[in-house]
């Protein structure tokens, strides 16, 4: 009996050794995810979204290096390559990288990456957009990638970045009930235009539920922006500004990006500023209810995981970014001589 038992064990071991060494029997290939940023690396908007995507994938069982391989490329279209030419150039680079990487899924962050890369790829790759400010229907006009938001039908789906503008006004109104009027500033960049459109849509959608008068000012230059800010500071009726002009040029052609614009704004404005997303509070704005890029990234990552699990992108409806966060810059609050109740501060997602 002992002899036969040993023989059986030996046979099993031999079988296991031989089977592991069989030619052509490779481990299943890791899924490949490519995250394309419109932003530069460590951008206050791009990084949270990136982290959110990775976190969501991980939560859904796709850990980088284990179940998936993630690669990323930063087109830096907000700070450096912010002209159409530079953007397109970066898009070509990105396309090459993507084609070289052969991702199973492409995640684009912000409109530039989506518009210049995702919509331009020769071979369709399942794509999830995130932080898209422009209306999907608008992009669909130039390049048809969806049938409807609910059932896109193609290989593209994603998360539409809802500004929650009216929500932000409502929150501020609840903190400062005396708020009568607010003024928003948008630029003429594609993103600016998309933001502008979205703000109008939200106001229209909310209708009477908008808690105060809302005015949107489109500024074309840095100087105009400065003037409007200063002018607004003198207007007592306006209790709140919404600085959504994120890319401005002065008369000399110098480009001013969000950090620069916000730095000047807080130095010269006497009105609290709603941050378009909570990362802007970190840059010095007053804060308030703002888009939660991390949550939005997670929302997109969840969709990506579903696709990785086998769902077709065309079957996954396009979502709006659900989550918005509460963030305050206490320095700016104190600078403005305002006081935010302690419980609200405690409930805030981020305080800077």
């Amino acid at each position: 009996m002992g002899k036969s038992f040993l023989l059986t064990i030996s046979a099993c071991l031999c079988f296991l050794c031989s089977s592991s060494a069989l030619p052509g029997e490779e481990k299943p290939a890791l899924k490949r995810v490519f995250i394309l940023h419109s932003y530069e690396a460590e951008h206050v908007c791009g990084k949270p979204q990136h982290d959110g995507v990775v976190k969501a994938l991980e939560e859904e069982g796709f850990k980088d290096g284990e179940q998936i391989v993630i690669d990323a490329y930063h087109m830096d279209t907000k700070r450096k390559n912010n002209t159409p030419e530079l953007i397109n150039k970066e898009a070509e680079i990105a396309i090459k990288k993507i084609e070289a990487f052969k991702p199973d899924i492409l995640v684009t962050l912000d409109d530039n990456a989506f518009r210049t890369v995702a919509l331009k790829l020769k071979s369709p790759i399942p794509t999830v957009f995130c932080g898209l400010n422009g209306q999907p229907e608008m992009y669909n006009k130039t390049y048809k990638f969806m049938d409807t938001r609910e059932k896109p039908g193609g290989h593209i789906t994603g998360v539409y970045e809802k500004l929650h503008y009216v929500d932000a006004l409502r929150v501020h109104k609840n903190i400062f009930p005396g708020l009568k009027k607010t003024r928003a500033f948008v630029d003429e960049s594609p993103t600016g235009k998309a933001i502008h459109t979205q703000m109008i849509l939200e106001i229209n959608n909310e209708g009477k539920k908008v808690p105060c008068k809302s005015e949107i000012v489109v500024v074309k230059s840095w100087e105009e922006y400065q003037n409007k800010i200063l002018e607004t500071s003198l207007d007592d009726e306006i209790g709140l500004i919404y600085p959504a002009a994120l890319l401005l040029k002065d008369k000399d052609g110098k480009t001013y990006t969000a950090p620069q614009i916000f730095k000047w704004t807080v130095e010269h404005s006497t009105k609290p500023e709603i941050a378009l997303n909570y990362a802007f509070a970190k840059l010095g704005l007053f804060g308030g209810a703002a888009v939660d890029f991390f949550a939005m990234g997670k929302q997109a990552g969840k969709i990506a995981a579903r696709i990785l699990k086998g769902e077709k992108p065309g079957d996954i409806s396009i979502e709006e970014a659900k989550r918005y966060a509460l963030a305050f810059n206490l320095k700016r609050v104190r600078q403005l001589g305002l006081e935010i109740p302690q419980d609200i501060l405690l409930a805030a997602d981020n305080i800077y």
Partner: protein, 843 residues
Amino acid sequence: MTVVSTGKFSRFLGFTLVGFMVVALVIAVSVLYDTVNVAMTREFQNQLLADQSEVSVILSERINEVESRLKEMSFNNLIRVNLMLEMEDPLKDFLANHYPYEEGARYFVRDDSGKVISGKPIPSIEKIVEVMDKGLEDDNGERQLYRIDNHDYYIFTAPLRRQADNLGTAVAIYNLAEDVKFWNRFYTNRQADLIMTDGKLMVNLFDHQRFPVPEPVSEWIKAGANGSYEDKFSQHFIMQLKSYPNLFYSVSTAPFYAKKADLVERLVVMSAVILLLSIFVSLYIARKVSQPLDDMANQAAIIASKPDNSSLNISGIKHEEFRKLAEAFNNVLFSLRETESRFRIMLNDIPSIAVQGLSQEGTINYWNKASENLCGYSAEEALGKNMFELVAMPDHRERAKIFVWNICESGIIPEPIEADFLTKDGTAIPVLINHMLVTVPNRPPQVYVFAVDLRGRKQLEAELLHSEKMQAIGQLAGGIAHDFNNQLGSIMGFADLIRDQLKVKELELYEYADMVVQASARASELTRQLLAFARKGKYRSEPVNIHRMIGEVISLLDHTIDKRIKLRQHLDANPPMVIGDPIQLQNALLNLGINARDAMEGGGSLTFETTNVTISPKFETDSEGKLSPGEYIKIKVIDTGMGMSEEVKRRAFEPFFTTKESGKGTGMGLAAVYGTVRNHHGIINITSTPGKGTTMEIYLPISDAREMEEKKAVGVIPMAQNNETILVVDDDDAVRRMACEILKSLKYKVIPCENGIRGVEEFAANKDIISCVLLDLVMPEMSGREAFYKIQEIDPEVRVIIASGYSLDAENRQLLERGAVAFLSKPFQITDMAFTMAKAIKK
């Protein structure tokens, strides 16, 4: 006769023990079952209560967890701020992430407008909100369940406030059925159900099965749902969950009854085993107990069948009790044998009762000695013979046979009967027969005949008849003689006085008077004989020497008797003294001598013999009743004359009966003798054989020695010393007058009274001067006895002399014992009166 059925003791003992064990077992098992059943029921009820409490605790814990979570939610700053800032989406997100659905509990928020904000969609939220808007019931500490869309919810709320501002409400709905955590704990080591009822329907909260509430259960719930309720229909115990009025803990009764059934089964098996063991042990004990008894019974049967001197063998008996029983049996046996032997001897030797044992057919199987004596057949001759043929009178045999047969059949013992036994020599003997029936189990009945010879009694009866006749004659003669004697006494007394008065004056008249006295004396003698026969004629009572008297009689006879008759005397008595009347006694002996002389016309011998005889208490004479025990002198007068026939013997003492020729005898001789002897407390017997002679035997009591010494001084008549006064009470004028005259002649004063009443009156009037009372006993109106008692009442020390024409009989003796000082016979004689009176006054 009651027949008692018998059975084996071992069987009886065995059945008794088994019966006792069965009864004891039934009682023990009943008590055990009752106790265990009560304990089981109590344990089950306690378990039910404990389970119910535990479930209540588990549910309370779960609800408390939900409520705690809700409380925490109501204090959550983020929720409050989001609500305040109307940050609905972040709030939803927050709720979804932090207050997700868990274990049946769902959490959501309602803002101040009532809008529901929840992390996830909540089923039936509209209806839940509707219920909430209607207002939740005040639970008063008891949880209320709400049934919404076939689900049962506990709904809990907590206000969401920011300082004084009401922001909304935090809500938790808890669906118990979905709480896996609860059910896991509920079903751990428990097989039960949790039932929710609204009074009409019952719902199993786990599987949602619905069923209507049975009527009894509904009534029990309405009555307060106290304790537990056993629903026979569903076969469940139901108990309300503490603090949860709508919830009931339900347990199937099946395990409980299965446990009870198991208990019953165990008890039955145990009882059966114990019963079997009991039967075996009982039979063993019964056998052990009865075996020595059986052995003893067998030995006793052998002993009974062979009546030798054997006894129970006790050496093989191991147990002390049975040994004692055997010893006691042997002792009883020996005692019985001894008793049986004694009675057998007694029965066999009893002299006067002839005992015969008979079978029902009359075959003789017992014949005692008295039977031998009575019937003349020895036991050897009689045993085995038929009783009726042997001794019954021929014409009575059939009747006797039926008589005995009836006794055996009916068991009724008849009254004693008189019959005649035919003796061996053909004589018919009258007997009194008693019967006794002896029955012994398993043996034929036995009749015992107890026959008493009636010949003696018959003779006694004849003699009694004769005696009664004699007594009647005597009374007749005595009555006449008494009156006659009284008259004669007067005649003689006055004649005597006349004679005394004429003694010295008128000699011629004196002789006449003396002739009167002499004639009176002869007449008196005749009456004396009559009175003697009537046993009323004893007038004197003095010591008499029988030997001297016999000498005087022989002397008298010697002068008158035929010389061919030899007179002999053998006087051996010592002392020869008796107390009596010497004249009567002398006359009696003289009469016997004369009769003997007359019986020996051709000569012969006449012998007087005396001997002393001591009569023991058992002694009885053959013919004349019983003599009192004591010393007697026996006087025999024996002649060798013609003797007497039985008829003559039987009538010899009758007055005026004589075999002599007419004119030669009065027929009063032996009658007077008979009366005299009886009057002296003696008896007289006749033994006579015709042609050979006759012997007359007289027994007289010997007198006391002191009395024998006492002799009266004859010659000097005592006179009254002080002219004492004597009260004389007598209804007869002549007698009274004579008594008074005699007393006066003796120098006494007299107070005469004609009756008892006057006597008492006179005594009462003159008691101080009356020294003595002479009182006649036989008086009309007030008798002497009555007067005596009354006088004695007046003066207890009074001296009374009783006077009577009769002898000193028992009645007179009684008066002497009561205080009378003396007895004086009538007719009075001066000498007797003088001595008696003088003696009485001296006392």
